[in-house]
Every structure is written in C-alpha cells, then in structure tokens.
Symmetry: C2
Subunit: 213 residues, 2 copies
C-alpha cells in the first residue's frame, strides 16, 4: 500500500545535500531550529538510518546547516563591504553592519541554526569556529583601518569591535525573534546601525545639570 510512491533508485544520488536542504526547510517552516533526524529522512524519502552514512550524528547535520549559513553570511557581508570599499571606513562599517542584519532577516532559518544553543560548544566543529572567527577579524580590521585614518574614536579596537558586533548581533537576534515591533525591517536596520556611529548623546552635550522637577 504505502510503497505506491517509492523511490525508484535504491541510491539517492545526492543525499547529503538533500538532507541539509530538508533540515533547513523544516526550520524555516516551524520557525525554530528543532527538527528530528527521522523527520528529515522521511522528507527526503529514505530510512532513518540512511543519514548516518553522511553525518555521524544529529549534531553533525545541524553543524553542516550552520556552516552553510556562515559561508553565506560571510559572502554577503564581504560583497556588500566590497562595494563600499571605495568610500570611507565609516561607510564601510555601516554597510558591514547592515549586511549582517540583512542576512539574518532574509535567512532566518540559517541564522537561527547558526546560533542555536546546541552548537554553543563549537570546539567540536572547527570549521564553524573558523567562519565565525573570520567574520570577527574582518570587523576588527575594518575598525583599525578607520581609526588609523581618524574616522573612528581612539581606543582599544577590540573593544570597539565588540561593541559593534554586540549591537549588530543583538539587532539581528531581536528581529529574527520577531521583536521588531511590527515595523518594516529595512529602515529600522539602517537607523539602528547608524546609531552605532553617532551614539545616543547629542553632539553638543547640554551643560545644564538637571531639570528642576
């Protein structure tokens, strides 16, 4: 009965990629990086044990999805920052930040998996660590360049990078989690990332001490 729809070929042919794709689709559909190995296998049309030929365990599949995501993120960020290369470092940093958040909003499933709690210990997945690290190094480089040319405030570049990374990552997380207060994301991203540059304090600080009451 059930074998009416049956895979024709015994071998799938491209199971590994198909599994990654199916897993991503599941995350997309349910908006949460929780999926079952068997579920993924069913969707692809193979037995639940078949994935083991391609991924040592469930975590390996999750890591593969995350890694694909990191590569996509890096490509997007570098392409956008590359376009802004001719302009000054501040514009480049701005473009970098916007691109980061854009990627998250456009690829929420990938982003969720990339930062899922199950992958918190990345020591088991060195390629993930490398991708994340490369991103960070690129950011620090961008800030050091800007400082050297006087476009950014002086100070420990690592600390500035950490601040930028925090704002941008926090923004991405909040937007992907649907805490965007129902606004259109694009302008919100632009203005929030711009805030990183100018800060919340007015350029001309009021000298009056405090209100009367």
């Amino acid at each position: 009965m059930r074998e009416v729809i049956r895979r024709q070929r015994y071998h799938h042919g491209n199971l590994r990629e198909a599994l990654v794709e199916a897993a991503l689709a599941l995350v997309e559909e349910r908006g949460s990086p929780e999926f079952t190995l068997r579920e993924v296998a069913r969707r692809v049309g193979v037995t639940h044990a078949a994935p083991q030929r391609h991924f040592e365990d469930r975590a390996a599949l999750v890591a593969a999805v995350a890694e694909e995501g990191f590569h996509g993120l890096r490509a997007h960020v570098e392409s956008v920052a590359g376009l802004a290369k001719a302009r000054d470092p501040a514009a480049r940093l701005h473009a970098l930040g916007v691109a980061y958040v854009q990627f998250a909003v456009r690829n929420p499933a990938h982003f969720r998996v990339m930062f899922t709690a199950e992958l918190a210990d990345k020591s088991r997945h060195p390629s993930l660590q490398a991708a994340s690290r490369a991103m960070h190094d690129f950011l620090v480089q961008c800030i050091e360049d800007g400082q050297r040319e006087g476009f950014f405030v002086e100070g420990d570049p690592l600390e500035l990078a950490f601040a930028a990374w925090s704002l941008v990552h926090g923004l991405a997380v909040l937007l992907v989690d649907g805490r965007g207060m129902g606004r259109r994301p694009a302008p919100l991203i632009e203005s929030v990332v711009a805030r990183l540059h100018t800060g919340l304090l007015p350029r001309h600080r009021p000298k009056r001490k405090r209100r009367k009451h």
Copy 2:
C-alpha cells in the same frame, strides 16, 4: 537494593519549586538549556510522572524557569536604575544597560533559558511576554525622559530604545556564549555600554575626505 535511599515522605512537600531549582541546576552544570524531564525528576527523587501534577508539559517547566529569570532581571535592573535615579537620565540609562548585562553574566543559566529557542513562541506564556514587555517599556520611558531634558539626541524614542536594547542584548548573548575574548567581563561591559552613548565616531569629525592610498 535501590530503595536503600528512599524518600521518607510519600509527598515531597514542595515539588514545584524543587523542580524549577533542579532544572536550573542542570542548565548551569551543562551550560546549555537542554534537560530532560525525567532527569529533573530523578534529581529531585520522584517518579518521572510526578512533575505532571505541577507542569502540564516540559515546556511549562522551561517557561517557569524563564519566568523566574525575568522577574530576577527586572528586579536587578530596577534596583540599579533606582539607585541611579537621582542622577541624570544618561547615567540612568547606562546603569540600566550595565545591569542587564550583569544579570546575564551572573545568572547565565537563567539567561539562557529566558531566551531559549523553545520559548520563541511566547504567545503560550503570557506572563513571559508581560515581563519582557515591562522591561522594554521601562527602557523607552527612560529614553523619553532623557530626550525631553535634552540628554539624548532627538528622534523616534522607539528606534533609540531598539538600538539600546540591541546593543545590550547582543552584548549579553555574546558574553554568555563565551565570546568575550577571554577578558574580564566587568570593564568590558562598562566600556561597551558607554559606547552606546558616545558612538564610534569622534566628536569632532575629520573633514578631510580620504587617505591618499
């Protein structure tokens, strides 16, 4: 054999709280918000079905831990911001941000559970939504006060609040996930949150266009 160590009383007496506490301890120990209901029950010394008398399902227990965390966060933030109340709004906002991140770093287990992916859909847990919302409202209020008195730049207060919330939340997430670059967290928190106020651009923007090469 195994009943040598056996609970004396048939009724635990305070099972609900004990379960929340045990769950939190497990998260703390393994550094990840993944725990098993049966595991928690074993640790408390009851049968695996006993928790069901207090929590409809596993998600309800997770939500209870998260809710406890939100109450703690709010208490911490409000107490710190209360102390800084006498000072100007900028100092108050700074204190608020530092307190937020401090809470995350000091209570990583709580923080992880509060923002775990399983609770992404908070519609099923209105008390969580309320706690998170209260936090946000407090922040917006703080910014509106500051703007009114000229301590912050003008503009949509919701957008400024979103920027502040992003930076602080991102910083907390990165620190809790151990991406703090091995630095002592306290000074890093101070300086990164301070960066929110001043931004990355120098106060006196260089007018020269760009480097020669």
